[in-house]
Each structure stands twice: as structure tokens, then as C-alpha cells.
């Protein structure tokens, strides 16, 4: 390759040139809006969040208790059999600490991102959330955490009805 080919195609444009408008561009903002049907399982899940409860679905064949709930067991490929509630406490499966926002700008207060394996669900059945009321340097794998909910009036039926997770015991 290197021996036979002398030149590789591609004209680089520096970011400053792009921003300064010296490169001919066409701009367009797509209008792409959606209202996704949450479906049977997730509609119930969201309604239960309003009630301050976390709903799971169960499969009799493999015995798993699944969050987020679903109408089908993806391992057994059959309809799930029932519903149950799991606790709003759990253990940290993994975590990371973000110092940047979605647009790549820096943020002052880091966001602690966690995957919490919920108590009462099958092992490893985690959900994604954030953590507060702790110094990010003190977070540990396997730490026990508990959900902090919005007051009932403020819940809308969203995963953010849980504001964040905090350590189960005072550190």
C-alpha cells in the first residue's frame, strides 16, 4: 500500500474555517418528533413509578425477575407470566463520574452515573441512574444505595420520578 500509492484523497478543512463561514455550507434543522407508544409493559412501569414503586415482570420458565419489565422473556422467547414489585434499594454494579455535559462542555459539579442492581430482582438486573449525597471519590463497587423519590405530587410517570440514588448508610 504505502509503496504503491502516493497520495490519499481528502481535502482537510480546519474547524475554524468551518465556523468562520469561509467554507460553502448548506444548513438544515430536521424536524423529527416522535411520540412513542410505551406499550403494555412500560406503560404499567411508568404508572407504578408515579406510585413510588418499581415494577418487574417474571418468567416462570427461567425464574427471572426482570427490570425494566417486558411482555416477553428474551432468553426463553415466550410471553412473561406475571408482575411483581422490586425494592428501591440495590448495589452498585458499576459507576463512572462525568465532568462533561452532553455538548462536550465542562460542568462544575460532576455527575455520578451508576448502574444499580435492584434488590428483589434477579442478580445483575440493573438500571441506569445517577447518584448524589456522596463525594465522588468515595463511591465503591458493591456499595448499597437507596432511591430518593420526588414528592408524589411532582411525579409524572418517568424514570426521573426517582431523583437519584444515595448511599444506604451514612458514610
Amino acid at each position: 500500500m504505502s509503496a504503491k500509492i502516493k497520495e490519499y484523497p481528502g481535502q482537510e478543512v480546519k474547524s475554524e474555517e468551518m465556523k468562520s463561514g469561509r467554507v460553502p455550507t448548506v444548513r438544515y434543522r430536521p424536524n423529527a418528533k416522535y411520540m412513542w407508544s410505551a406499550g403494555i409493559a412500560m406503560s404499567r412501569f411508568l404508572n407504578e413509578l408515579k406510585n413510588g414503586r418499581i415494577l418487574a415482570s417474571t418468567c416462570n420458565k427461567c425464574g427471572r425477575i426482570m427490570v425494566p419489565p417486558r411482555m416477553f422473556c428474551e432468553q426463553c422467547f415466550k410471553p412473561t407470566d406475571g408482575w411483581t414489585y422490586v425494592k428501591d434499594t440495590g448495589t452498585i454494579n458499576t459507576y463512572s463520574v462525568s465532568f462533561i455535559a452532553g455538548d462536550a462542555s465542562r460542568i462544575k459539579e460532576p455527575i455520578i452515573v451508576v448502574v444499580v442492581d435492584l434488590d428483589g430482582a434477579s442478580p445483575g438486573m440493573g438500571i441506569l441512574h445517577t447518584m448524589q449525597e456522596i463525594d465522588w471519590k468515595k463511591v465503591k463497587f458493591g456499595m448499597k444505595v437507596r432511591a430518593v423519590w420526588k414528592p408524589e405530587k411532582e411525579r409524572t410517570g418517568a424514570i426521573t420520578d426517582i431523583k437519584y440514588f444515595k448511599p444506604l448508610k451514612e458514610e
Partner: protein, 388 residues
């Protein structure tokens, strides 16, 4: 062992990988495709089918963008299809080209992978927010770096791996990329540079990750009869594999990529490979983050679980080591125009096996190479095994 028709790679082409290229998506496709055709000694008349791959339409800003790229990819009035498996697309497009020819339907297939991330303004990172589940993940403001740092941290925790060990991958690949003519980020850096770089989302730091890029790559595939007429040095596609894991990524233990192992086993079985570390001479696993090279080495069964950092420390994965990994410089060094980056790795194996990789050439006459890509929500593995 496989199909009716054996399939060979007979030419490859690559554009520069840069943060912004002036060329439009279809122009980049054309440049890479033309280069690959010239290398193969063919013209568009000889091409019977086109397999194209590209990741999110949101970057290019065109819905059904494959349809916009047909002409640029040489598919005027030809059978054209686009495959799309997130980050796994680049290597998977080569797999797709393989079945076009191995099925017996076509004697030749032009495989093109393209990505124009710079169109997404002001930064392609925004587009990534739309890959997450709208109920469970998006409302937190989830970003790509969040979830990869979760995976990196889990991998480090389960095996007790330190950042210094992982940083060695970034050092190696960026240095390898200095010898790649298309590279965006070839550089001589040290482990200290990585450890001192800006913390993005702990444990991920700036020098742990690859950039966003524009670029395109292309290869020409031919059936055995045609390939033998074209060249004395065809590189055979002996195995293809792909696998996807559950979308419920928070229900999975991220320390090990089962889906890469599943894809690798599929490809190795087809290729008759029983002892991967012994039988594979060079490998290009997907490395958008430095820890992923290690993660994928293990998933590709090139070493035991948790052992990849040790191999790196011992220099085994250097170009002159026992198992060279990412001699191209990988995504960390060459750049990451998602689909094109994966196909770039296939191009690299092609050139390596033919002894045409110039300054990047792995010594010792490599005969069997593997390229692998990774995608989706830490779900997808695509693998290709190539042999001379």
C-alpha cells in the same frame, strides 16, 4: 468448508481521516471506491453488486442516507444494499460483501463504508444522545462517554486492571499511526500524558478516546475464478462472524464482551481456526477507547480473560511482537469515522497479508489476520478472518 465460491479481496482504497473533510459523503465514497477499483485493476463495468455500510444517518443529516450514496458507491443501476449495525458496521460491511459473492449470485462486489460525522453541527456528540432508550436512559442526559466509562470501570474492577496498563494501548496505537498516511491523530505520547489528560468521565480521560472523523474506505471482492485472473496475491475471506447481545445492557455484566466471542467463534469455525492465539498472525480489534482493545482481545479468544493488559505490558502486541495488535494505529491513531474505521481495519489486514503495509508492515510473513468491530449499546461484534 464454506459456500460454493471462495471469496477474495483484490483491492482496497482509503481516504484521509480528518475531523472535517471538504468532500461530501458521496464524494468520499467515490474516492475510496475508485482507489480500490484502480488497485484491483477493474472498472465499474466489472462490478456486479455493491454492499455499503454507514452508521447513524443523524451524522450526515440525511434520512435513508444509503439511497443518497448509491451513485458515489458505484451502484448506478446495480443491486445495492446498506447494512448498519452501529459501530460494528465497518467490518460487517465486508462480511456483507462476502455473502454477495459466496452465494454465487455475483462474481464481484464493491464494498464501501463511509461516515461524514462533521455534518452534525456543532458537534457529532449530540447525535449520540438519540441512540439511548427514551424511557430508561435518555432522561438522565446519558452520553456515549457515560456508558463506555461504565464498561471500562467494570472491566477494570473485575480484573483489578490499572489505568497505567490501559494507557499503554493508547501510546502504542498513536505511535503506530505515525506510519499511516491517512492518520488523523498519530503522535508520540507517554503513559503520563494519558494519565494527565483531561478527565472526561472517570475513568475515561481525553487521551483514552478516539476522535470523531470524516472518511471512507472501500474494498473489491471477487470470486475465486475472477480473483485468480486479476492477481497472484488474492487475500481470501475464510471466515465471517457476527453477533448481537440484548438491548437491556444494564441487565448485563459488562466486564466481558460475550457478543465478540460469539461472533469470533462463528468466524473461526468457518475458517477452521481451533487455536486462535497460535493460528492468527495479526489482528485489528476495534479500539475506539483504549480499554476496548484489551476487552476485544479477550473476546476474540486471543488470550484469557483479564490477560490482555499483561500481553500489552510485555510488548507482545507491538508490531514486532508475537501477536501484533492494531499495527495500523487503530481508531485511536488513525481516526474514527465509524463505519469507515472498521473497513480501514479490513484494508490494513489486506495490506499486511500481502506485505504491502510499508512502514507499518508486521514482520514474519503473516498469513492469517483478523479484523473486528464493535457497536450498538455494547452489544455488537462483527469479525472477519482473512488468509493468504
Amino acid at each position: 468448508m464454506f459456500g460454493k465460491k471462495r471469496v477474495a479481496v483484490v483491492g482496497a482504497g482509503l481516504t484521509l481521516f480528518r475531523r472535517n473533510l471538504k468532500e461530501t459523503g458521496r464524494e468520499m465514497c467515490y474516492e475510496a471506491a475508485k482507489m480500490a477499483l484502480d488497485a484491483a485493476g477493474l472498472t465499474l463495468k466489472d462490478i456486479q453488486s455493491v454492499a455499503y455500510g454507514s452508521a447513524p444517518d443523524a451524522f450526515d443529516g440525511i434520512h435513508m442516507k444509503g439511497e443518497n450514496m448509491t451513485d458515489g458507491s458505484g451502484a448506478w443501476r446495480k443491486p445495492f444494499s446498506r447494512v448498519y449495525v452501529g459501530g460494528g458496521t465497518g467490518v460487517f460491511t465486508a462480511d456483507a460483501g462476502w455473502w454477495h459473492v459466496a452465494s454465487g449470485l455475483f462474481d464481484t462486489c464493491l464494498v464501501v463504508a463511509e461516515e461524514k460525522m462533521s455534518s452534525c453541527y456543532p458537534h457529532p456528540a449530540y447525535a449520540f444522545t438519540t441512540i439511548f432508550d427514551p424511557i430508561m436512559d435518555r432522561p438522565h442526559g446519558t452520553t456515549l462517554i457515560w456508558i463506555f466509562s461504565l464498561e471500562m470501570h467494570r472491566y477494570m474492577h473485575v480484573h483489578g486492571i490499572k489505568k497505567e496498563q490501559i494507557a499503554l494501548v493508547s501510546v502504542k496505537n498513536k505511535r503506530n499511526a505515525l506510519d499511516h498516511p491517512c492518520a488523523q491523530l498519530g503522535a508520540k505520547i507517554t503513559v503520563e500524558d494519558v494519565l494527565n489528560s483531561e478527565i472526561m468521565c472517570w475513568p475515561v480521560q481525553r487521551l483514552d478516546i478516539s476522535p470523531t472523523s470524516d472518511g471512507a474506505a472501500a474494498i473489491v471482492l471477487a470470486s475465486e475464478d475472477v480473483a485468480k485472473k486479476l492477481t497472484d496475491n488474492p487475500v481470501w475471506i475464510d471466515g465471517v462472524g457476527w453477533c448481537i447481545d440484548s438491548t437491556y445492557w444494564t441487565n448485563r455484566d459488562l466486564y466481558y464482551p460475550d457478543y465478540v466471542e460469539c461472533a469470533a467463534r462463528m468466524a473461526y469455525k468457518m475458517a477452521g481456526i481451533k487455536n486462535p492465539p497460535k493460528e492468527i498472525d495479526v489482528a485489528e480489534p476495534y479500539d475506539p477507547f483504549d480499554y476496548k482493545e484489551l476487552h476485544h482481545m479477550e473476546g476474540l479468544l486471543l488470550c484469557k480473560k483479564g490477560e490482555a493488559p499483561k500481553l500489552t505490558e510485555e510488548g507482545v502486541t507491538q508490531r514486532d511482537g508475537d501477536l501484533p495488535i492494531n499495527p495500523s494505529g487503530g481508531l485511536l491513531g488513525v481516526g474514527n469515522p465509524i463505519a469507515a474505521a472498521g473497513l480501514m481495519k479490513v484494508c490494513e489486514i489486506f495490506w499486511q497479508l500481502r506485505g504491502e503495509a510499508g512502514k507499518r508492515q508486521v514482520p514474519g510473513d503473516p498469513r492469517t489476520g483478523v479484523a473486528q468491530a464493535w457497536g450498538d449499546l455494547m452489544q455488537y461484534g462483527s469479525v472477519i478472518v482473512m488468509r493468504r
